[in-house]
């Protein structure tokens, strides 16, 4: 008996490093050049005040100047109601259109239009439509609904309306995709168990929608918080709608203080981050798993 001998093969050489990972480099360079570098540049710049002083001089200036820090409040006063209205309105509309029908296609198409038009065109249209002699005010007077002057431009309401016109379709399309993703047999099962249509919505649809709705609210909020063109064109940029982006633009292009403008932009980003983080942290109170009712 001879024991079988193992072939005396050499050990395989060390596997060469997988070169495919380098394929990610163009995308990485792109991100670094267009997002990371400008952000870091702005961050560093914001700590180098134009007129000298401490590194925090710009931030101190922002939070002590009464022409500066209230812009945060002004922007929040616009962005928060706009977000609530946009997401809040999109839920019942998306719910009503959850079944695939010609109406769903029609409304979806109709709502995509304002998304594609851009805020400036919407603002221009609104200036004439909602203006003192526009169709809207003439219709309100003609129908004797309101006798005083209807002022919906060059103030808070003009900006809020424009945020809804441009933000609602966005929130609606997001919400619609969440609503249609929920298995309709769940609501039917709830119905056979005695749930009225309202209970079906409250017990089944709403809990399953919450994670999606917080996401839609985050995106809507960020969009609304960075409002600029409509705040200038439709609002009162010197007063009630002097939003934070206007303060930053003034610092950069009227005072040529890029350092202060960068600091304002950093504050703006921080406030957005704070609100978004707050909203996303509520997601852990909700069920976030699959939204179908079993196999099949």
């Amino acid at each position: 008996m001879s024991s079988p001998t193992l072939p005396n093969a050499p050990l395989p050489a060390a596997v060469p490093r997988d070169a495919k990972a380098w394929l990610v480099s163009p995308a990485l360079i792109f991100i670094l050049a267009l997002f990371v570098y400008p952000f870091v540049y702005g961050l560093v710049l914001s700590f180098q005040p134009m007129n000298g002083g401490s590194a925090f001089a710009n931030y101190i200036a922002f939070f002590t100047d009464t022409a500066m820090w209230p812009t945060i409040i002004v922007t929040l006063k616009l962005a928060v109601p706009a977000t609530i209205i946009n997401v809040g309105l999109s839920v019942p509309v998306a719910f009503a259109l959850r079944r695939n029908s010609p109406y769903q296609k029609f409304v979806t198409t109709l709502l995509v239009i304002p998304v594609t038009l851009g805020t400036v065109l919407i603002a221009d249209g609104m200036l004439t439509y909602f203006g003192p002699n526009g169709w809207f005010s003439q219709a309100v007077h003609g129908l004797h609904l309101y006798s005083d002057e209807v002022r919906l431009t060059h103030n808070y309401w003009g900006v809020l309306i424009s945020l809804i016109v441009s933000g609602f379709p966005f929130a609606f399309l997001l919400t619609l995709s969440y609503v249609t993703g929920i298995d309709p047999t769940l609501a039917r099962a709830a119905a056979t168990l005695g749930a009225s249509p309202w209970e079906q919505f409250r017990q089944i649809y709403l809990p399953l929608l919450m994670p999606g709705l917080t996401m839609a609210a985050c995106l809507s909020f960020v969009q609304a918080f960075s409002v600029f063109p409509s705040a200038v064109l439709l609002g009162a940029p010197a007063g009630p709608t002097r939003v934070i982006s206007i303060a930053a633009a003034e610092a950069a292009f009227e005072s040529y203080d890029y350092s202060l403008a960068s600091a304002i932009a950093m504050v703006m980003g921080f406030v957005q981050l704070l609100v978004v983080a707050g909203m996303l942290s509520t997601r852990r109170f909700f069920y976030t798993g699959p939204v179908t009712g079993g196999k099949g």
Partner: protein
């Protein structure tokens, strides 16, 4: 809603819908059926025959386009589903993914405003009945298919419905579990003593579980009878085909022979059971592959054939044979080879003769 009824009456229930071309398509044509308390009814038919539509109409999930549904002396087809108080088990179970097993089962009780402690007690009882104690804290996504199925059943029966509707509840389970669950569902049905309507396309399921079977095709009822009656005396060729009488051949009527009837074709003479009166000499003969057996030449109802194909199945083999009157399927035991001559016979009692040509 009442907890018990004596009779559920479907009075020419119809439903049609508009197809994409805007034409009305009838999914259900004049379904008439009386269901007694405690009965287990199976709606059997191929997909698209209207059996699920019928179930949804009874549950109130789809409106009728004609007819009425009565629960004793109360008309219920005008009520929304949440007012009918029927329990329903869905094909995909439709468990609420964000609720625990216990909350799923307790949902119907919560909707009825039953106190929390009482609801929990009854939900536990229902879970006990479907043998799922110990899983009540889990989410449906953490359960196996068979367990999800049991939760769906518990959720439907905990509200003590007067009628339980089941829409192909076993079709997503594997064969072994399916056979176990049949007995389980039957046991739960007997324990509750209420009516069950069970939709299936599986003839074995219908035969083994139901008190009465309703065979449907293209929206109409073909036959309503006991499993034994359906199996042994299918009302027409469609029912026969669906119940496994895969062999249908054209024969000529020769005459009556005692209780049976003599038919012939291409030199083969068979004795069969008449399934209806005869209007013409042209008749169709239906045989199940399982009822064909090897025979000695010259035996009663025997004929010669040639083996065309063999599908080995372990216990027996499914073979395709060429006989003088046509090609047949047969299930035979023992060795069999392609091209071999074989002599087969079919007992006269298992040879069904229908009037007219096969559709």
């Amino acid at each position: 809603m009442k907890h018990q009824f004596d009779e559920l009456r479907l009075d020419s229930v119809s439903r049609s819908f508009m197809n994409a071309e805007g034409q009305a398509v009838a999914a259900l044509r004049g379904l008439a059926l009386n269901i007694q308390r405690g009965e287990f009814i199976a709606l059997l038919g191929p997909s698209g025959c209207g059996k699920s539509t019928a179930l949804n109409c009874i549950a109130g999930l789809q409106p009728l386009t004609g007819g009425q549904i009565w629960l004793d002396d109360q008309r219920i087809d005008v009520l929304p589903p949440e007012k009918r108080g029927f329990g329903m088990v869905f094909q995909n179970y439709a468990l609420f993914p964000h609720m625990s097993v216990l909350d799923n089962v307790g949902f119907g009780l919560k909707m009825r405003g039953i106190a929390k402690s009482e609801a929990a007690r009854r939900a536990y009882e229902a879970l006990q009945m479907v043998q799922l104690i110990g899983q009540e804290k889990k989410l449906p996504g953490q359960l196996s298919g068979g367990q999800q199925q049991r939760v769906a059943i518990a959720r439907a029966i905990v509200i003590e419905p007067s009628l339980v509707l089941m829409d192909e509840p076993l079709s997503n389970l594997d064969t072994k579990l399916r056979i176990e669950m049949r007995a389980e569902i039957r046991r739960i049905h007997s324990q509750l003593g209420r009516a069950t309507i069970y939709v299936t396309h599986d003839q074995d399921e219908a035969l083994s579980m139901a008190d009465r079977i309703v065979v449907m095709r293209e929206g109409s009822v073909q036959q309503v009878a006991s499993p034994k009656e359906i199996y042994e005396r299918p009302g027409n060729l469609h029912v026969a085909r669906f119940l496994g009488y895969r062999n249908v051949a054209q024969f000529t009527l020769e005459g009556m022979q005692g209780e049976g009837v003599a038919v012939s074709s291409d030199g083969v003479r068979l004795i069969g059971m008449p399934m209806a009166g005869f209007d013409s000499k042209r008749v169709s003969v239906a045989m199940r592959p399982e009822d064909l057996e090897r025979a000695a030449p010259g035996a009663e109802n025997a004929f010669d054939a040639e083996v065309l194909t063999v599908e080995y199945g372990g216990h027996d083999s499914l073979i395709r044979v060429k006989a003088a009157f046509g090609n047949l399927w047969a299930r035979v035991t023992g060795d069999v080879a392609v091209g071999e001559p074989i002599c087969l016979r079919v007992p006269p009692s298992r040879t069904l003769v229908y009037d007219g040509e096969a559709p």
